[in-house]
């Protein structure tokens, strides 16, 4: 063991990034490369009567103009890396290019490949599309009513409905001392990663379409192959270091378009979306309307919780049913409630489609239930921390689905520690009023168990004692690949700088699954740990033979085998040489399987749905300008049970980044859709926090070591952005006495809540 686990380590990729040497998707070029562009629908709802591409095709320098009729299988099934057909309505239709009806503004209608980007752009303007505008439907509740405008052709607008019941909520509410009701709304938001969607594809001499792309899911090679109608092994995806993902690069972006253009032209092709295109047409976070009723006794014990959740799926199914499943299971939050009734529904509209975004359906209900908890505490005159002490789940508690949580739950400790660290309120002169807010959150790491998730990794020692790792993990900036290096360095007793990793290539690295669902440290970390330990075992048993001692007395450290209680050292290279000489395998490839379950009865969801949860809390201090409604976040404390911080720098990076990511959600971010038209088309209308808006985030990491990841680690990527939004709105309440139930809490919204009409 080299003792690198738990040490703050610079990531292996950090230097190249700090020097500007990393070749991101758009930084890559090939000789003879063409540029692809997408023609996008000008209407959110319309019928395509005809498309005339002749003028565009005639433009010198244009090599291909493609429409739906040129796509071998224009309609397939949306997958996001799963190797299992889950069925049960989870997998929706994936359409490459608009056909029949246009469903959202910005939907891809045609593709162009040309010798320069400008020619491609000009060609787009020469494509004549005759649309018949249709009325469309833009509100999910309206879309769910009988007789509503049908977004698709024959399918219902309602994609999925779930229900979770436990006990008798209505009956319990009748006996509750206090009942809190509220309707909470959260908006469309954009991931706003700084690197827009991009890729370069080419055809190789084996007839394989290679796609080098910024993605979270290289397993989309199967989806691309399905669209082209070619075998899976004729499409290869190489994931680049992504300039951020946050769920927005979980669905297919440029991949199928590039594949089609390369197949048509035989030439390499690049496609990079403009920021406007990105905001207009990649997935958004689901807006929700959440109607909550919480009943409690005078002593603060919650006796019933009812919630009705409606999400806007936008124009295509994508991941909406999965996201909704997270919302339903997380709807009660980390509270033990005997009587629960959760209904959840996701509905198609003619808005931009919605899909994964950091938090994946868990953070929307978190805003609702943590607002309710705060209100309950106020109503009962109980301290907000005390109400959580009374109601939080602990190991062995029964969750809403009837599953008894079987791992350590650091609640309400995380909230207490966060609140304690915040200390006394700052004093500020009028017109500012200061308030403090706390909220807790739970979110799973690892995929829904009925997806039967797996990951693989390959570890090989070289003759000189250096180590090569191959693992198909896409690295989107969270330190995904660096933590694998650290695990290998630990197990094989070598320096981090002696471990080299190849990631994210469907042809050459073992498939490791998606960089989504906060699963890579858990899944690929465990696969890598398994491979490294197998190899370690082999090396140690050879060393034991060479040293004439039992292998359980041996350890690997600093490139040597060391014997417990002795000063003898056997250089690792000698062991490797001996193994090689005998024809022993100097590599190991391992697979890690998450626990599996079957798809539950969706009308009565029961059982364990996720492998485990990460629990955390935020305590924040805000100042509200009582004359303008402007909220400033003065301080944030983030406290999480991280299980084990493999690399504390990376873990803190997730907590700090997650807090600011959703501080934006709380205060300023909203993709404004006006009857399907995006009114915030660029980063000067869609505002995310700048360095001048972000306070320092204080991180407290508890390490109870009871996570399912390597060395007891839990996942942090998504859970880190949970609970900050309700902590902020609870703090606003504390400051000025108004409860903001609709995000973002813009100055105008806060002021109107305070003053009514202006």
């Amino acid at each position: 063991m080299s003792g690198v686990i738990g040490k703050p380590m610079p990531r292996h990729d950090a230097w190249a990034k700090a020097r500007g040497d990393v070749v991101y998707a758009d930084d890559f070029s090939l000789p003879g490369m063409l540029y692809g562009k997408v023609l996008r629908s000008r209407y959110p709802a319309a019928r395509i009567l005809s498309i005339d591409t002749k003028k565009a095709e005639a433009l010198p320098g244009v090599h291909a103009v493609l429409t739906a009729k040129d796509v071998p299988n224009n309609e397939t099934v949306t997958k996001f890396g799963q190797s299992r057909d889950v069925g049960s309505g989870f997998e929706g239709m994936y359409r490459v290019l608009a056909d029949k009806k246009v469903r959202f503004m910005g939907e891809a209608v045609a593709l162009v490949a040309a010798e320069t980007e400008r020619i491609a752009q000009e060609a787009l303007e020469l494509i004549e599309v005759d649309y018949e505008p249709l009325p469309g439907v833009f509100d999910p509740e309206e879309a769910a009513r009988p007789g509503a405008y049908p977004v698709g052709e024959s399918e219902s607008n309602v994609i999925a409905r779930y229900r979770i019941r436990r006990g008798d909520a209505d009956e319990a509410l009748r006996h509750a001392d206090v009942v809190i009701e509220g309707t909470y709304r959260v908006p469309f938001v954009d991931h706003a990663y700084l690197e827009p969607e991009s890729g370069v594809a080419w055809l190789d001499e084996n007839g394989v379409i290679n796609i080098r792309v910024s993605t979270q899911v290289i397993e989309h090679f199967r989806g691309v192959a399905a669209v082209l109608g070619v075998p899976h092994n004729k499409v290869r995806i190489i994931g680049t270091f992504a300039g951020g993902g946050f769920g927005g690069k979980e669905d297919i972006t440029v991949e199928t378009y590039l594949a089609l253009l390369v197949r048509k032209t035989g030439r390499p092709c690049k496609m990079t979306w403009t920021r406007e295109e990105s905001i207009l047409s990649h997935s958004k976070r689901h807006p929700y309307v959440m109607r909550y009723t919480t009943g409690a006794m005078a002593d603060g014990k919650i006796v019933a919780l009812k919630a009705d959740l409606i999400s806007d799926a936008g124009a295509y199914v994508y991941l909406s049913p999965w996201v909704l499943m997270y919302s339903a299971v997380n709807a009660t939050g980390p509270y033990e409630v005997d009587n629960v009734d959760i209904t959840a529904m996701t509905v198609l509209t003619n808005n931009t489609f919605t899909s994964a975004n950091r938090g994946f359906g868990a953070i929307q209900p978190n805003f609702a239930y943590e607002s309710q908890m705060d209100e309950l505490a106020r109503r009962l005159g109980i301290d907000p921390l005390e109400i959580r002490r009374i109601n939080c789940i602990k190991k062995g508690s029964t969750m809403s689905t009837g599953w008894k949580i079987d791992r350590y739950v650091a609640l309400p400790e995380v909230a207490e520690r966060a609140r304690e660290a915040l200390g006394e309120p700052t004093s500020m002169p009028a017109p500012w009023k200061v308030g403090i807010g706390v909220a807790v959150g739970m979110m799973s790491y690892g995929r829904l168990m009925f997806l039967h998730d797996t990951s693989r990794s390959h570890v090989r020692v070289e003759m000189d004692g250096s180590v090569t790792v191959r693992c198909g993990v896409p690295d989107i900036g969270g330190g995904q690949s660096s933590s694998l290096c650290q695990i290998v360095a630990e197990e094989l007793g070598v320096d981090m700088s002696n471990v080299n990793i190849y990631v994210s290539d469907t042809a050459l690295t073992p498939l490791a699954g998606t960089t989504t669902a906060t699963r890579q440290l858990y899944m690929s970390g465990n696969a890598t740990l398994k491979a490294a330990r197998e190899l370690r075992g082999r090396l140690l048993s050879k060393a034991a033979e060479m040293l004439g001692v039992s292998s359980d007395r041996l350890d690997l450290k600093e490139g040597s085998v060391i014997v417990e209680g002795e000063t003898r050292r056997l250089p690792l290279v000698k062991v490797i040489a001996a193994c090689a000489n005998e024809g022993q395998e100097l590599f190991s490839e391992a697979q890690f399987n998450a626990p599996f379950c079957e798809v539950p009865d969706l009308s009565d969801i029961k059982g364990q749905i996720f492998p485990d949860f990460t629990f955390g809390a935020h305590a924040v201090e805000v100042a509200v300008d009582t004359e303008t409604g402007m909220t400033r976040v003065l301080r944030i404390v983030s406290c999480y049970d991280v299980g084990r911080a493999i690399n504390p720098l990376s873990a803190e990076g997730q907590l700090e980044g997650g807090a600011i990511y959703c501080m934006g959600y709380a205060l300023m971010e909203e993709v404004v859709m006006d009857r399907g038209i995006t009114r915030t088309p660029s980063l000067s209308e869609y505002l995310i926090p700048t360095s001048a808006d972000a306070p320092d985030v204080t991180c407290i990491m508890l390490e109870y070591g009871d996570g399912l990841g390597p060395y007891g680690a839990k996942g942090l990527g998504e859970p880190s952005c949970n609970s900050i939004a309700p902590a902020i709105t609870n703090a606003i309440y504390d400051a000025v006495g108004v409860r903001i139930k609709s995000l973002p809490a813009t100055p105008e919204k806060v002021l109107r809540a305070m003053k009514g009409d202006l």
Binding site: P8, P10, R11, D13, A14, W15, A16, K17, A18, R19, G20, D21, V22, V23, Y24, D26, D27, S29, H191, A192, Y193, L194, E195, P196, F241, A242, G243, G244, G245, F246, T272, T274, R275, E276, I476, G477, G478, G479, L649, S650, E652, G653, E656, G657, G658, A659, I660, Y661, S682, L683, S684, I688, P689, T690, S691, A692, A694, D696, V697
Partner: protein, 157 residues
């Protein structure tokens, strides 16, 4: 190329002569004509700062600078400044403080920080936050970026 406009400039210490379109941005020119890729394109309209370069020593957003207006000027990108002690110190500090995540904002962020620290010897955290406020980062929440920058500033005192 009848619409080309001839420019001569210095890029990362080298003399360059080129023809640019009237509306070609400095960023496009650097990336496509000179294949200098450390300046990134994140928004195309001056909203994010990933395209930051130094123009006659001043940090600017190269996606909203005309390539033609760089005629006669000195352009530096991060890759042309790897030997500047301040840049090196910042790079090392960003690496050791964990201020680099996806890395897409990093070249621009480091250039802005370097140019600010050149002029300001003892900035507060708030000063640094304001100085970097034209460069967006979506991963880190900025704290470690401020930490890393401040650590270098302290060393330079």
């Amino acid at each position: 190329m009848t619409e080309g406009y001839a420019i001569e400039l210095t890029v990362n210490g080298r003399q360059v002569s080129a023809e640019v379109r009237a509306d070609e941005t400095l960023l496009e020119f650097l990336r496509t004509q000179l294949r200098i890729i450390d300046a990134k394109s994140g928004c195309g309209k001056g909203d994010c700062g990933t395209c930051t370069v130094l123009l006659d020593g001043l940090p600017v957003k190269s996606c909203i600078v005309l390539a033609a207006s760089a005629d006669g000027k000195d352009v530096k990108t991060l890759s042309g400044m790897q030997n500047e002690p301040l840049v090196k110190a910042l790079q090392e500090s960003f690496v050791t403080h964990g201020a680099v995540q996806c890395g897409f904002c990093t070249p621009g962020m480091i250039l802005t920080a370097a140019s600010y620290l050149n002029e300001h010897k003892n900035p507060s955290r708030d000063d640094i936050r304001r100085a970097l406020s034209g460069n967006l980062c979506r991963c880190t929440g900025y704290k470690k970026i401020v930490d890393a920058t401040q650590a270098v500033a302290r060393r330079n005192e």
